[in-house]
Each structure stands twice: as C-alpha cells, then as structure tokens.
C-alpha cells in the first residue's frame, strides 16, 4: 500500500470521525432550548424519509413494461409494517416483494 493512499484514507476517516463524534460530545453537555430539542427530534423521520425517496428515485428496478418494482415492493413493505408493526417483517416483506415481482413480471 502506498504512503499517499494510506494518508488519504486516514485523512478521510479522521474527517468522518470528527463529524460523527463532535456534535454528540458537545451538544449532550448542556440542556438545549426546547425549540432546538424539538428540531433535532424531527430530524430522524426527515432523514429517513429523504433517504427512502432518493433511493426509490435513483435506483428503481423497472419491469420490462416500465413499472417501478421498487415502488410496489416499498408499498408492500409499508403495508406489512403498518399491520404488524415489526421491523423484521417489514424488511422481509420488501425483499420478498422484489424477488416475487421480478419473477412475476419477468425482469
């Protein structure tokens, strides 16, 4: 492994480590204003909704007729998750949905 590659890996990893740890260490030291707490409380739903949407738009698995199998499997996973309220069932339903759709729609 070349030295410059090693340094670049360490530099990138160091920057990432700082972004992962500094807010957690600093912000947990004091009680933040309620408005900031509320804002941070909404961040998880917002980030997850944005990741789901951008994944579905960026990497759709399309059937030969142009339907988004990803979107259909996502709908199935959402339905199963709402009924069972189980993370495991939601994950399995989504994966099984994709495999069954690929088989049925012949992609």
């Amino acid at each position: 492994m070349s030295t410059s590659l090693l340094i670049t890996i360490l530099l990138s990893a160091g920057i990432t480590a700082l972004m992962r740890t500094v807010p957690l260490i600093l912000l947990s030291r004091f009680r933040m204003a309620p408005v900031v707490q509320n804002w941070l409380g909404f961040i998880p739903s917002a980030i997850m909704a944005a990741i789901i949407t951008s994944e579905l738009v960026h990497k759709p698995l399309l059937s030969p007729s142009g339907l988004s199998m990803s979107l259909m499997a996502a709908a199935l996973a959402t339905f199963c998750g709402m009924v069972t309220r189980s993370l495991f069932v939601t994950v399995i339903a989504g994966m099984a949905g994709i495999l069954v759709l690929k088989y049925l729609l012949g992609a």
Binding site: T21, L24, L27, A77, G81
Partner: protein, 247 residues
Amino acid sequence: MSLNVEETPVEQGAGAFRRGVIACLPTIPGYWSIGFAAGAIGTLAGFSVPETALLAGLLYTGSAQFLFYSLWAAGAEMLSVALSVLLVNMRYLLMSSSLSLWFRNSTTMQKLISGLLLTDETFGVAAQYGARCGSIPFAWMLGLNVVAWLNWILACVVGAWLATALPASLIDGLGFSLVSMFIGLLLMTWFASRRKALETLTIAVAVAVTLATVEHLESSLVVILAATLAATLATLALRFTAKGESK
C-alpha cells in the same frame, strides 16, 4: 417508577449489550448487500483486499467508500478526495446532533465510542430507541455498533474476494433490504411518536423536497437539505400550534 406503559426502563450491562446486538439484526441484510458491492467495486477499481478492508473499517460508510474508489482510481488529489468525503458525509453532523439528546448521562469516552461507529442504519435504530426510552445506554449502543461494524467489514472483504462471481439477482433482493429497513424504522418512529400529525408533516415535506431537488443536486446534499427544511417547518408548526395553549 413511571406509570407510562409505553416507557421501557433503561437497561444496563450485559443485558443491554445483548439487546443492542438483537436490535442490530434487521439491519444486517442491508450491510451485507451494500458491503458486498462496496468490496467488489474496490477490487474492480484496483484496490487490494487489505486496502478495501482498511477503508471499510476506518471510513465505514458505503457512499464515501464508493466515492473514494472512483476519485482515487481517477487520480484525484489527496485533499480533493478528503473534501468530497466531507461533503458526502455531512449528514453525520445532523445525525450526531440528533442523537446527543439521548446521551446526557454518558461519559465523554462513551460518547466518543458511540459516535465513532455511527451509520445511517445504526442511527435509525438508535434514534427510535432513544425516542421510546428517553435515553440510550452505552452498553446497548455498543452491542448495536460492534455487530454492525464487524458485519460491514466482513461483507466488504467477502465482496472484494468474490468480485467477479457475484450473482446480480441476489444483490437486487438484498439491495432492496436497505429501503425496506428505512421504511420499517420510519413506521416504528411514527407509531412511537407523541406528535403524529407533525411527524407526518415532516415526512411529507422531506419527500417533497427530495423529489423537487433530486434531479439537480448531489444526493448527499439532497438528504441534508430535505431533512433541514422538513424539521424546521415541523418545529415552526409546533410553535404555531402551541401558542394557543396555556403553559
């Protein structure tokens, strides 16, 4: 003792570690599918298996690893690689800030270790636990993080080894587990929330902003922009609706 039945008491020690490990299980298919791909692409881009393993263990994030391979293979400068990694990983600033709500009782060393191994997936699982229990025990977070980290490194190494022999159909099914896992985590967060109308607003705004900007911006920036706008609007809506109530 709290009389609220929805509140689970915060656990400590070996029991908490074990429950953290169990909480990690639904995320493992996601780590394996993306890790496989991240390892395989490393080999195809000319990285050795030890180099890919080092990147997986230290950088520990799929999107930045993909970026690293392509920039390095294209002969990019050290600083421009590091700057690109910074941009792609900017969302960790938001995630780390958000998790700080649940780590008030931890020591600095515990916060450091918990934060170092933060990923999209462990963040989703931990944020849901924190919102439900009001605090995240270090042992639980360690169990969640260590299992995720080891699975990621292993998946990257196996992917790097098998780079040329991966069946594409397997990857499609596994790859979708990432989306369905976030759908599950989002649903669990919504069901556990005391502010369902505002959570719905947050989700709707985040989806709308993502759809509006996804064609024009780099995807890591889309996520940051969508999350920031959605959380801000929901907070404003909360302030607006709370004004009428007496304190």
